[in-house]
Symmetry: C4
Subunit: 286 residues, 4 copies
């Protein structure tokens, strides 16, 4: 989620001023033009994603076939232009192309061109949906950057704990699924194999509960109750982990950002933003 071209941040002496200005508009969003570019691009992305979705609705695709194909090519050309532009203004085009967003950009325009040469390309749909990944670009918008980084920091800090938790959950659903298989198998078509039962256990422990598979025996229902109550309590773990990390992350970030005015005399911190005097030694704060 880093800005893909940090090497440009300090300007680029080797390219002309026009390309440099273009680079700033396209890759950053600290100018009015740059913001406008981002917003227009964002809307194009959202609309193209909606188009891909609507295309999959058969009745819609049949009825508006020409419109759909027309719009599809409009988006493809627009995104191609954007991609070429990005390659042109970037100082190290290859580095952009092989960056996360570069690959996403490329992958989201390729399917349309491939369709010209290939037919019956059902699997291209998978590739085309990668266009959706472009939506994550919104995270680059400066306004939200700070917030997202706090969230990501908290997620990163709780990575190991969440791994341990997911590992424990995986083990739990395997054991629970097997137990339910032994209990229900024979009386209940839904528990026909252990993988199927494990799927049920996941559906249950996450409290999703589709109901396509449900226990029918008395023992199975008792076991299900235990599993559900466990799952209910277990939901506390990721929330607790994330909350604790986020609380710490906010507390630390907040302390640094909000009160840079630690006392110059005694060094004590924690003054509220409106403080005028140090609350430890009474010295006026700078």
């Amino acid at each position: 989620m880093k800005a893909p071209e940090p090497n440009h941040a300090a300007g680029n002496p080797r390219v002309g001023p026009f390309r440099q200005r273009l680079w700033r508009i396209i890759f950053l969003s600290d100018t009015p033009a740059g913001r406008l570019f981002d917003v227009v691009l964002l809307w194009l992305i959202v609309l193209s994603v909606l188009l891909v979705m609507m295309e999959s609705v058969e009745s819609f695709a049949v009825e508006h076939g020409v419109l759909v194909r027309g719009l599809e090519w409009f988006f493809t050309v627009a995104f191609t232009a954007e991609f070429v532009l990005r390659c042109w203004v970037a100082r190290r085009p290859l580095r952009y192309v092989f960056s996360f967003f570069g690959i996403v950009d490329l992958v989201s325009i390729l399917p349309s061109y491939l369709e010209l040469f290939l037919t019956g390309t059902h699997f291209l749909m998978v590739v085309r949906i990668l266009r959706l990944l472009r939506m994550f670009r919104i995270l680059k918008m400066a306004e939200y950057l700070g917030e997202a980084s706090v969230l990501l920091d908290a997620l990163r800090a709780s990575k190991h704990k969440i791994s341990v938790f997911l590992f424990a959950i995986a083990a739990a659903v395997c054991v629970e699924g097997t137990v339910m298989y032994v209990i229900e198998n024979g009386q209940n078509a839904g528990f026909s194999s252990i993988p199927q039962s494990v799927y049920w256990a996941v559906v249950t422990i996450t409290t999703v509960g589709y109901g396509d598979i449900a226990p029918v025996t008395v023992l199975g229902k008792m076991m299900a109750c235990v599993i559900m109550l466990t799952g209910f309590s277990i939901i506390a773990v990721p929330t607790g982990v994330f909350t604790a990390e986020l609380g710490r992350s906010i507390a630390e970030g907040g302390a640094t950002k909000l009160s840079p005015r630690s006392c110059g005399e005694c060094g004590s911190t924690g003054h509220p933003p409106t403080a005028r005097y140090c609350h430890q030694c009474g010295t006026e704060l700078g």
Copy 2:
């Protein structure tokens, strides 16, 4: 949610004492009469909403047709009287009419009058149920004011983070829905299009799990397990964000309440428990 008529708070010299007293009863709830007015109004609102609901139950509407229409007109007249009264006592009637609660008040009496002239106004039922929004006046009552404002502060403070989160969720369900569409389409009538699959993804990731659509292929079930466990972990994010903000909000509010050591000189509060000097005027705290 602000008090709609702050300009009245300090009294209104241009209107007579009777209208001023009436204004206080109707717009505030700091007098016994004002409280009574609020409570009666609240019950009228609740009963009128229940009536609108019951009206939609066909057997009930047929059986008690006359009663329903009678009560409907009773409520309409009562709310009209209240609206006219509010306009009369308010110093700036137009400002009240175009305030949030003014519009809600007007909108909740209009449908009944419109039905006199129009027919087939089924959708006016929705408008009529908006009367419910008038119940939020209760939040202005003293015992809830503080609580509601703490909750709203915490929500406001976590607004950006929750936006980022909802956006990430939206992107996730689009990608997941599309993947499931590619996997299940053809074998499962439930995944007939991408929008349908995205709907399934939302139902799953929020752990609602109706079960009207459920994966049937092995690959689909495996994918569903991954999505469910992700959703399960993701539930931690809004909770964590809100809890952290609320904790901070309470802690700050609490600091004011818990530290009796407000400055004796300038009266400023918010000193941390270990403070020795007022951070506003530098006086030593008692």
Copy 3:
């Protein structure tokens, strides 16, 4: 949840030592005999509750009719004996009889006697289930008392906030239910009236999602997605409120309980349990 007979706590000079000892065994659990009494009673309660449950299973009731009736009378006699004993040893029997637990005790033995005189008493089942309330006696067990009081404190402290939240939820499900009724009514038998739609909204917003009612129109599904994502975010509110209150409650309770050793010299608190010297003035802690 208070101990029902606080007036006995300091002993009771008017009754003999035997009744006083008996009172201590029955009403408190600070002696080995008192603990044993509690454990035996607890098991009797659990078993009698299980019996009531199993009685409702038709095949079981038919097959083991004699056993069921025999056990039922055994429990009735045992609980009657307990009730009489409690009345006898209590200094103010009436006060016990009309206390929360006294009523529960009485109500849980009455149905069996009433059945001797009345027949076809289907509604007695409701009364009999009140016996379940006896299970809450476990809260009296000293070991858990501290924990429960922290939980109850946190719940009590967040009472107003949770009210505001439940109020907002109630308003939300009414509005959402009505909107869904207008959208789905006619195409979907599940949304046949507003109360029915409100029921669906509650099922959805709480993420229970039975699936007995599910939207079928495109607009309905889109609306449902919005409602689900809102519900998903809203789950954060009660959790956040309770967590924040509990965190404060634990922090305060912990500070008081764990370190009674505030500094005798400067009065500063917050010393960790292992502290030997005051961290403010360096005086040795007592």
Copy 4:
């Protein structure tokens, strides 16, 4: 989850250096060879568990019968070899055999041998899936040890509170299930007995909501709404308890890390940020 052989930690003078090195590889993971052993073992466990699962899929078991039996014996022999090796290198083999992991190790190889003599041993499948428990050895690996112990500490600290909570939930579902039984019984085959209704209450209060049983009467649906909203609020309790404990647990651990002002004299840590004197030896902190 303790290391099963703490008595080996300081080396074992009575056994030869080869066995001692082998012991280090097998029981610890602080050498490259030890890590490799752990990783290989982990994969064998995962694969053997997958095999047991796949075996339960009838079509797979029929088609690949020979392969399945072959792999089953390969895993059995491998795990037997590992078990024998562990017994040989352990200083006190019996202590290992009767430790938690020793029993799990033994239990996971026994079923295959038992199947040679017994037939119709369907339920041994459950026992074989217990191999999964061996995966928890991974938690002994250094990078997870700290995380797991923080999580376990928080769980252990909130044990009593979670017990009280689960007990309250158990009492609640019993009461709610009985009430729903009284309301719905007769009109709804799903509420045919109290245990069945309690099962429904658990499914509802945990927000799983299969939908195999759902209220059909108006009163039942109203009651269900109340139960759902309660369950929704109640989810806050375990999360709040765990988060608060984890926050404290992290804060305490964090305090050590964050406050660089450990005492220069005695090295003791854990001073609050405002501490001026060491709380162990009274020295002024730097």
